[in-house]
């Protein structure tokens, strides 16, 4: 009886502590975080949707983009936003090499092999970063992007708005590329039926190489933004890959625009869990949602063929 009274008081105190402004702020921060998740996951979702490869090195390609932006900022003072193309191209190059040297050889074998191989590539890359750039945590700090803007008691930084916009543009651009360009259509046809694609004259090997490189490019795009909003370090990659995989399943394989919605559901859900329950249940929420979606709707929330 006494314990239950204590619990009630605790809950009451918690409710008293949370203001409406904080709830709105929390939803907004979750929404923006969800947008970031979508960008971080774009490359993995694309590669998985097209090639059925769970690229476990995805996070490491993303981290590479972050390091490129960091060093361009430190050495030449280049604004991280301007370094986005270079970070994306270098990550695409690393991805291209990984596919050409390793993955191409086992592409036609069991799917599990590609998973193990990409996991190995990820470990190799994270240790390479460790040797090249030490274990130090790198934070891409741009003062004007971190300055808060206030609207009706709600705070938001310019960096968060820009990142969200880039994420949104990235998703739309990829969606349009797949729908409206010849190359995009070739990729989609290959994803649907490789034999048919070969019969109509599409070089499926080349399409695979291109798709995996595009996956790296998209990952590289997210790296500088991760460095700006948070940090990069050699060990960051795996955490990003896991989060990206959850989101890919949540959105549904093949649903590129669904990533934004799924990202927001995850981001807002996590923020609300922290606000109303406890921060220690935040990760649990993500994994619980992942399991529920797998059970109730295995194709994901917005899953359909590309």
């Amino acid at each position: 009886m006494e314990n239950s009274l204590k619990e009630k008081n605790k809950v009451h105190r918690r409710k008293e502590l949370i203001s409406t402004a904080s709830i709105i702020q929390s939803i907004l921060s979750g929404m923006l975080e969800g947008g970031n998740y979508a960008l971080y996951c774009l490359g993995l979702a694309f590669v998985f949707g097209i090639m059925r490869i769970i690229n476990m090195a995805h996070g490491e390609f993303l981290v590479l983009g972050g390091y490129i932006a960091y060093w361009l900022l430190v050495k030449w003072g280049l604004n991280p936003l301007l370094s986005l193309p270079m970070a994306a191209v270098i990550a695409a190059g690393a991805s291209f090499l990984s596919y050409r040297v390793f993955l191409q050889r086992i592409r036609t074998t069991a799917e599990l092999n590609t998973l193990i191989l990409t996991f190995g590539i990820g470990i190799f890359l994270s240790n390479l970063y460790l040797q090249l750039w030490s274990a130090d945590i790198r934070n891409i700090s741009v003062d004007w992007m971190e300055k808060p803007l206030m609207f009706a008691g709600i705070y938001i930084s310019l960096g968060e708005i820009i990142t969200f916009a880039i994420s949104f543009i990235g998703v739309l651009a990829l969606h349009s590329f797949l729908r409206h360009t010849k190359m995009g259509k070739a990729i989609r046809i290959t994803a649907i039926d490789r034999d048919a694609a070969t019969l109509v004259g599409i070089n499926v090997e080349w399409v695979d190489l291109l798709a995996f490189s595009i996956g790296g490019l998209l990952a590289g795009l997210g790296g500088p933004l991760l460095g700006m909003l948070s940090f990069v370090s050699p060990g960051t990659g795996l955490h990003i890959t896991v989060k990206a995989f959850i989101l890919t399943v949540l959105a549904g394989v093949g649903s590129i625009p669904g990533l934004i919605a799924a990202g927001m559901i995850l981001g807002i859900g996590e923020a609300m869990t922290v606000t109303f329950v406890s921060s220690s249940y935040r990760e649990l929420f993500g994994f619980a949602l992942f399991l529920v979606i797998l059970l109730v709707r295995p194709s994901g929330l917005f899953g359909k063929r590309i």
Binding site: G30, I137, P148, F231, P234, G235, E270, A271
Partner: protein, 391 residues
């Protein structure tokens, strides 16, 4: 021919000029994984410790270092390899209570003396292992934080956010108890998981509760995240305080102006050694800087001192004949009573440092200015002040 070879061997042996047989020292620390940064600093300090010992005592040290990959299982494997296969005389290193806990159990199984510097959880010494020794432990940090909040800030409400790992959870709980006992309210006491990227929802709780001080018991990445998000929210607090790994030269380099005014605990900062140990402190810093082209952190200093104390205990236990044994090393460690850069060092029956007290500093113009305890302070606090403006 045999005679010639014997002569060569004897010549070589004499040529080394070592006074006693080689000491085999084992070390494990994270060189990869999430704790790699701290582990690398620790190993650098250990290497300086070995070189200095060799120079001073003319005893060769065979240092065996294994990367425990920030993983408890790998830490156990490293200790088993060091004690079981390499047959080392003693082990130093280890970072993080969750790694050192199982690693120290392995050292106990092999009956090998184990002196650590990176594990502060009080539960570690509760088992009363005869081989377990450490240079720092948690109560020394907690009292530095609560003492500053009470005596220097005079704050009434404190928000405590803490990483769910065991050491940070423990320090958070002890500090909360100390604050409440001192009549200070702790309306927000919130745990967060490793890898959290959005801290705003918990920071909003601190704002809504009207806390004057934000106390974050975490690690480097947690500080980066909370400070960035506090800046975006323009969090209205008067002070930001962290536990370990905050305010280091790397931290200041990465966060720049956003590291200004923050408080953190440390064991050692340049210039905080007691008078009698100033020369030793200066010597270590000079050697470290010359060798690694960087400033040593307190973790490097801990690595250095743990190695120095352990090697001296082994040598002292072994005597002139160099008859090293685990029992003699343990006895020498238990009898040790020295004043070094950390202050007075002696171990109690559980292996905890009897006189350990942390220092608390504030970052001012990029420098760590020790402000508490008052008798070790080298400057005064700037309060209220947080890097993003605050109250």
């Amino acid at each position: 021919m045999i005679k010639i070879w014997c002569a060569v061997l004897v010549g070589l042996w004499l040529g080394t000029g070592w006074a006693a047989p080689i000491i085999k020292l084992g070390a494990h620390a994270p060189q990869t994984g999430s704790l790699a940064k701290h582990g690398m600093e620790q190993i650098k300090g250990i290497r300086v410790g070995v070189e200095e010992f060799e120079k001073k005592y003319k005893i060769k040290v065979d240092l065996r270092v294994y990367d425990d990959e920030s993983d408890p299982q790998k830490a156990v494997a490293a200790v088993e390899k060091l004690a079981g296969m390499d047959k080392v005389n003693a082990i130093v290193g280890g970072y993080g209570s969750n790694l050192v806990g199982p690693a120290s159990e392995a050292a106990e199984r092999y009956d090998t003396p184990y002196l650590t510097t990176g594990a502060v959880d009080t539960k570690l010494s509760a088992k009363k292992f005869k081989n377990f020794f450490r240079l720092n432990y948690m109560p020394g940090y907690a009292s530095a934080q609560s003492g500053t909040i009470k005596e220097l800030f005079g704050a009434k409400k404190v928000g405590v956010l803490y990483n769910s790992l065991s050491a940070t959870t423990e320090i958070a709980e002890v500090v909360r108890d100390q604050l409440v006992k001192a009549g200070i309210e702790v309306p927000v006491f919130e745990k967060f998981e490793k890898g959290t990227t959005n801290y705003k929802p918990i920071l909003l709780k601190v704002r809504d509760a009207g806390c004057e001080v934000l106390l974050v018991e975490g690690y480097f990445t947690d500080y980066v995240g909370t400070i960035k998000d506090a800046k975006i929210l323009n969090l209205p607090v008067k002070a930001y305080m962290g536990a370990w790994g905050i305010g280091t030269p790397d931290f200041v380099r990465e966060l720049g102006p956003m590291s200004e005014y923050i408080y953190g605990t440390s064991i050692w900062e340049m210039g905080t050694a007691p008078k009698v140990a100033k020369a030793e402190e200066a010597e270590f810093v000079a050697i470290y800087k010359a060798k690694f082209k960087e400033e040593p952190s307190y973790i490097s200093m801990l690595g250095y001192l743990s190695t120095k104390y352990m090697l001296e205990a082994i040598a002292q236990g072994g005597g002139k004949s160099g008859n090293y044994s685990f029992e003699k090393t343990r006895t020498a460690l238990r009898a040790m009573d020295v004043v070094g850069p950390l202050g007075r060092v002696t171990f109690d029956e559980k292996g905890d440092p009897k006189y350990f007290t942390a220092i608390l500093f504030q970052t001012q113009k990029g420098n760590q200015i020790v402000v508490y305890p008052k008798d070790r302070a080298i400057g005064t606090i700037q309060y209220p002040a947080v890097p993003w403006g605050g109250k």
